[in-house]
Homo-oligomer: 219 residues x 2
């Protein structure tokens, strides 16, 4: 197989993943049949198993593709020792908000699957992937506390829930959040011009207010 063939094959696999991601997001994992996915992608049903081993393999391949692209960015922020904890936090929020809002359909699909309380191979795999991002954020906070930049009197763990939860609430409940915020949060222009900068500013200010190392103002 020459290089041109290799490229075609990758393009075809990528095309299947594009279609599958959309179908999964619309119908959920169990709701999306392999027949529908292969039909939408105009490929033979057996190709899904041939390329990805199984339906679950297709699902996980979607994750690997999306996660891999941004994983290194977040890690580099966490490992950059040339900037202080506050700057790391800002950078993390900027990158994270951009990525999540840009790939909001994917994140809806992700959260729908991980919201299943029953443990499966699939939820285990997703958990592992998500936890990598969580750990980066946790380390930024922990190091900031250790260095004295952040207050010691914070709940690091629930703070994770706030950052990821605030973001999730906006993208996962578009009908609600659009009503609250006052414009359609699914609209691309609104996202770029209004939502993203506003969400960044807000999260930074919220974190700053909570993390600031003030001299214990009682009550």
């Amino acid at each position: 197989m020459n290089q041109a063939m290799e490229k075609d094959k990758i393009d075809k696999k990528d095309h299947i993943l594009d279609v599958a991601e959309k179908v999964f997001a619309e119908l959920g994992y169990e709701g999306a049949s392999t027949r529908l996915i292969s039909g939408e992608a105009n490929v033979n049903m057996a190709m899904l198993n041939y390329y990805f081993g199984s339906k679950e393999g297709v699902f996980l391949a979607i994750f690997e593709r999306r996660i891999a692209s941004f994983q290194s960015v977040l890690l580099s922020i966490g490992n950059d020792d040339s900037i202080n904890a506050w700057e790391k936090l800002d950078k993390y929020i900027d990158s994270y908000v951009d990525r999540v809002v840009n790939n909001n359909c994917f994140h809806v699909m992700l959260n729908r699957e991980i919201s299943k309380s029953k443990k499966t191979d699939l939820t285990d795999q997703i958990t592992k992937i998500i936890m990598r991002n969580v750990t980066v954020f946790q380390n930024i906070i922990a190091n900031g506390i250790k260095s004295g930049e952040f207050s010691k009197d914070v709940d690091q763990q629930l703070l994770v829930a706030t950052i990821f939860g605030t973001k999730n609430y906006i993208v996962n409940t578009p009908h609600i959040s659009s009503l609250i915020i006052g414009y359609d949060v699914m609209d691309k222009d609104n996202q770029d011009e209004k939502l993203k900068p506003r969400l960044k500013t807000y999260l930074k200010k919220l974190l700053k207010a909570y993390l600031v190392n003030e001299n214990d103002n009682n009550k």
Copy 2:
């Protein structure tokens, strides 16, 4: 059929809905088979169709049942003029955390449903009910700002996303949040003894830090 029978029948239907709610939360709508639900509830499979007509009928019955009790609870707090904005906020958080954690299975179901981009009668209904709770919270914040108790320089609308989003993140992603927090957040004892008080304390402190009307400490 006398009254005793009628009660038995209602109890049985209620029991089925209890079990179904849990299974739907665990596996999602498509992931939960009627055989599993009826098996867990120790009733014949045909009883689901006999009582509720179809699988979807079971699903809708769960919502109708919970939604009925969903209504009036929080409204009283918002309308209580005998306490100040800070106290209202505390009360709201207390009752809200209790209610959501106690009914975590239903809330997982609810959020999974509302995360669908396609509008349906069900999502419209859920949206309306959720917005009623949101409005109570927003009014507390708005009145606190107007009275000067809270800072004017806050993003009221995104603050809503933080409160509801933080809570959602804990209950909707149990695998993740259990890993982050360090114990099983689905365990009833953990919920009552650890999670609920901790979440209340955290949310209050977070809100206080963000809302406090300080004299603009630059940077």
